[in-house]
Amino acid sequence: MSATVFVPRDSAALAVGAEAVAGAIAAEAQRRGEPVRLVRNGSRGLLWLEPLVEVETAAGRTAYGAVAPEQVAGLFDAGFLVGGKHPSCLGLTEEIVYLKRQERVTFARCGVIDPIAVADYERLGGYAGLARAIDLTPEAIVAQLTESGLRGRGGAAFPTGVKWKTVLGATAAQKYVVCNADEGDSGTFADRMLMEGDPHALIEGMLIAGLAVGATQGYVYLRSEYPQAKRVLEEAIAAARAAGYLGADVGGTGRRFELELRMGASSYVCGEETALLESLEGRRGIVRAKPPLPALQGLFGKPTVINNVLSFAAVPTILARGAEFYRDFGVGRSRGTLAFQLAGNLKRGGLVEMAFGVTLRELLEDFGGGSASGRPLRAVQVGGPLGAYLPASRWDTPMDYEAFAALGAALGHGGIVAFDDTVDMSKMARYAMQFCAIESCGKCTPCRIGATRGVEVVDRIIAGVARTRQIALLRDLCDTMQNGSLCAMGSMTPYPVLSALDHFPEDFGSAARAKAA
């Protein structure tokens, strides 16, 4: 009987030496003549512990982390194959408080199974949502989505059921399902982790979308900065095809659904849905004016469901366990769970899936454990490069879409980037404008010109040139960008800029402080 050992091949584990650890375990097992079955799983999301090695024992899965290749011989000496004691031993994985306190719904299988193996996925409830969808009418599938309260997890939080209903109601010879896997926000990695750890959940969600709206072709648009996600998705798509889920006869129903992986080419704006569609069509990723909505005239002018990775990945659970099961998580109009991503200067960074309503402070302190540097935390950016910077006085806000909108902030894709007290917020405001200048698609003037002027104005504020006037000018410019831009790139870049100015005026010199007082 061979022992089963799990070593993740998620990017987060590979980037800190998981390949060498896996190699050392295989070599040591062979040298000692102890048979080991090595499974390359996804990540559990306890990222400060990567590479996190797990062993299947009689009591359950036992975790060791962070494991260095040099420790492997010692682990064998300590009898880790049967859960033996070792300084790196963390006990049973499921009992680790960081994981135990979470509400893993979409990420229930991530890090648990071999991401490619269809049988592993099915054993833990995978493809049960598709089986249910096959028995339902398209209208009934869409009704389940609507009742679940699921809203787009990419950041815009548009009700998924409404989007699907529009596509279902459109008449066309060809419809498409497109997955937005262009996860460009700094501080976010949940899409990547899901695609590398449980890619069949995405594939199944897209298949269900295809059945719901009558689409036969799907595309996953993946950013080129994610080479490992590309490898895993390619393998998983091939496995789903071999198992008869993808192709001309989905699950033996006689219905067709093909899925193709397409690579982006480093353009932040292509995370905006209409720019993404332009890119998929082979053009510059330039934002389209809406209407027409992509649901009616999307890819190649045809009705298109376009959703984020985590929106699709939530769908199988909703179908398999019912809309009520999903809707019972959360608060107010924010139903279900969100995958919060703890990033930047935190002791325990990682993925925390919880129902909406948890506070930012709980995430930063209880899960994150405070700053990695040991210095006090000062500012937290929520929702990616277009999200607001929040000071400690706002950290008790519950994490839900409406509560954040009321703060003049956005939850976005759930990324949380923490900074300690060494941060210079005028520099972060400048960076927000600079990033917008680098990534603007150039279609609309407020974004294209505004971002460049914004960098110049912030530079003058930092240099102390006519500070009061320049701050007034910056606010005026932000107003123009916010109200005059075609998409979120230009209209939301003012969020980090203005929040930095409003909450941290001391970093912008005395004139800003006087104004804010």
């Binding site: 510059r284 950016q381 980037v417």
Partner: protein, 163 residues
Amino acid sequence: MNPAVAPADAERMEQVRRAAQALKQQPGALLPILHSIQDKLGFIPAAAVPVIADELNLSRAEVHGVISYYHHFRTLPPGRHMVQICRAEACQAMGADALAAHAEKRLACAFHETRADGAVSLEPVYCLGLCAQSPALMIDGELHARVTCEKFDQLLSRTGAGA
């Protein structure tokens, strides 16, 4: 046309044409074709533009416009080693600016440039999805997280990118 096209260039253009012909039937084929060419050649030579335009029945301006729009596509050969350092917020929160300055000095190469001896190119990247383990970078396609200046120097000697 330049009458003295070197054989290496002719061979390259043949590869470009084959890549375009292999993929052009796909809907929205231009990006997959450009990826295929860059994966093979390391960059997309200017001479490839009319070949691709011809195969796809597009104008040269349209093809050039797409190549120049996306940061990923290069029109010059990259260095033998490629160092890509994340410059985004999460990495900044953990000292990526200091690491970036160290890298420029250590490699004797500025961002967006290839060192004169062709040994290394240095590029910024906006997020590798390793935001809980910042600062992060990629050397020759391999990811590294929690990179200090010391670890950076070790990685360079290990990969040969620092030579």
